[in-house]
């Protein structure tokens, strides 16, 4: 801003003031609400300008306030922008390209997506991922809710029980899956040993937990075990938000334990359940580690019976360097997550209205 002497300053303020009065009279007569709102905003801008000139400072109070606020956000936002937002935009574009990472990018249009539907491996990955979700989401939800209700009772040592049930969540996958693979070892593991000696399952009928049809079941069981503690804590927080009077009132009305759950706990937890289901679904769709650790053979590859979407994204990008195609698979993953979130959101909104 150029320096101004006093005379110039007053002249400038006067002219601004004049325009401002003109605007104010115009607003009074304006009927279109949209235009009106615009004008009111303009009036604010004029007032700020006048204030700035009057005070003689470079920055108005608002500008200063904004700067302070931005300085708080900047460290995180810059990182977030560069390492998250830009790659996301890039990912959408890449799905419509063909690129191997070094040669020039080629426009591919929808061809990547068209190829997907005839890709046997992709279809298997999609099917497995969905099956895994369908198995894991409701079971984990039910288990964690039940656990939360039990741990919300006044029982001795509930702190210890809470801590213990959170252990699997914090434990690293590599470590804990290697234990599972030993426990469920087809020929030597204690689980199959138990089935053999106690339940007399014949040797050749002992379940092969990590190959063929059972591998998805193993993944689901493992995931429930590993993640229920986390969702239990979320449910526990939700349960503690339910006012005690509701239960007292229900008791006075002679409600049974089941009725109390059905008509007090469950409806009161609806927003918690919404959150749990959305988080669970997102986390299930992005399953990768569990499959790799439990089902991959010695060379670290997954077969059609155990492959999942993220594995295929990884495979197509970092092994085959077919980046466009890999991004198309990623878009399918994104759409699935989006779809589930929207459906859940709708259901939640409906319930809230009722």
């Amino acid at each position: 801003m150029p320096k101004m002497d006093e005379a110039q300053k007053t002249a400038r303020i006067d002219s601004l003031q004049e325009e401002l009065t003109g605007l104010i009279t115009a607003v009074r007569t304006e009927t279109d609400s949209k235009k009106r709102r615009k004008m009111i905003a303009q009036i604010g801008a004029y007032n700020r300008k006048i204030d700035t000139i009057k005070s003689g400072k470079m920055l108005s109070r608002e500008a200063k306030r904004d700067l302070v606020a931005y300085s708080f956000i900047a460290p995180n936002f810059i990182g977030f922008c560069v390492f998250t937002l830009i790659p996301i935009v890039f990912a959408f574009a890449l799905a419509f390209m063909n690129w191997d990472g070094s040669n020039p990018v080629q426009w591919a249009g929808l061809s990547n997506f068209i190829k997907l539907k005839d890709d046997v491996f992709f279809v298997a990955a999609l099917k497995n991922t969905i099956l895994y979700c369908v198995g894991t989401v409701p079971l984990t939800m039910a288990a964690s809710l039940a656990l939360a209700i039990v741990l919300n009772q006044k029982v001795k040592g509930r702190g210890i029980f809470r801590t213990l049930s959170f252990f699997p969540y914090v434990a690293s996958l590599v470590a804990i899956t290697s234990v599972w693979k030993m426990l469920f070892h087809p020929s030597k593991g204690p689980i199959n040993n138990l089935l053999y000696t106690v339940f007399h399952v014949p040797q050749d009928k002992l379940p092969q937990w990590f190959t063929g049809g059972l591998v998805l079941l193993s993944m689901i069981l493992f995931s429930i075990w590993k993640y229920m503690g986390y969702y239990m804590v979320i449910y526990l927080a939700g349960l503690q938000g339910i006012p005690g009077e509701l239960y007292e009132a229900a008791s006075l009305d002679g409600a049974t334990t089941w009725q109390k759950f059905r008509y007090v706990t469950w409806p009161q937890l609806s927003s918690t359940t919404f959150f749990v289901v959305v988080m669970l679904t997102i986390n299930c769709f992005k399953v990768y580690d569990v499959a790799i650790m439990l089902a991959a053979g010695g060379n670290g590859t997954l077969t059609e019976s155990s492959t999942v979407l993220v594995y295929y994204i990884y495979q197509k990008a970092f092994i085959d360097w077919n980046l466009g195609y890999s991004s198309a698979v990623a878009m399918v993953l994104f759409l699935l997550v989006l779809l589930v979130t929207i459906i859940q959101f709708r259901g939640q909104a409906k319930r809230d209205r009722v």
Binding site: V174, A175, A317
Partner: protein
Amino acid sequence: MDACAADAGGEKGVIAYMKSAHKKAVLGKTAVYIILILIALVMVVPFLWMLSASIKSDREVFQMNPFVWIPENPKWSNYSDIWTKIPFGRFVLNTVYLTLVVTFLQLLTSSFAAYSFAKLHFRHKNTLFLAYIATIAMPWQVYMVPQFIMMRKMGLNDKLLAMICLQAFSAFGVFMMKQFYEGIPDDLCEAARIDGMSEYRIYANIMLPLSKPALSTLTIFTFVNTWNDYLGPLIYLKSQEKKTIQLGLKMFISQYSSDYGLIMAGSVLSLIPVLIVFLTLQKYFVEGVAATGLKG
């Protein structure tokens, strides 16, 4: 209903009713305890098995008849061999460095940004926050490929710095801290402003000390996620001396797949730091989850 019937039966009935109610309560309690103990067993047995197997020889690990938790001659050498069979020390150092830096940056930048979103008024606030919200439901796996290409262009391939950039600025942290700060009354900040405190001082002297539950919760999540991350390091960290514990352990498992005792010893070692962090901070944990709106 029961109560009415008891009234009709007179005093005897009342006593009988109370007795049966008491019996019911005791039965209920017992059932709850049995369920709890069963659950606790399911949760803990794999860990106990891990501990037990880590001091066994490969032959003893699967020995069932008789099964012993502690072998006669515990093979403590498993715990020393793991450091020489693979560069376990290097992996530990890398992981510790990565986890500490990421957790520190995450806590600092998220709480900083969250303060602004929760307590300050400024232009484009909603637009900026929308950018965060919109990416919360976006799985990282959707954009990990373009992110990698970008990092490679920036010369960050095979650098620990890449992992730091990747994990230190999450939308999740900002969202969580913002929810928590919104629960702190505005009057507190207003009073401090009237006293002439700058926003930075308010953040440091008033907000931060109040947000222990939220910071603890975020620490647990960030620490656990960074420490246990597998796919991220797998994509970025290629050379042996850059690898993290998870990668190293996985590599060891595929190389020596039948050295069960050693694998278990390595696994136990890899769990200790996360468990320590979790156990020290867990008293704030349920409170933190409740107050940060993680429950939805």
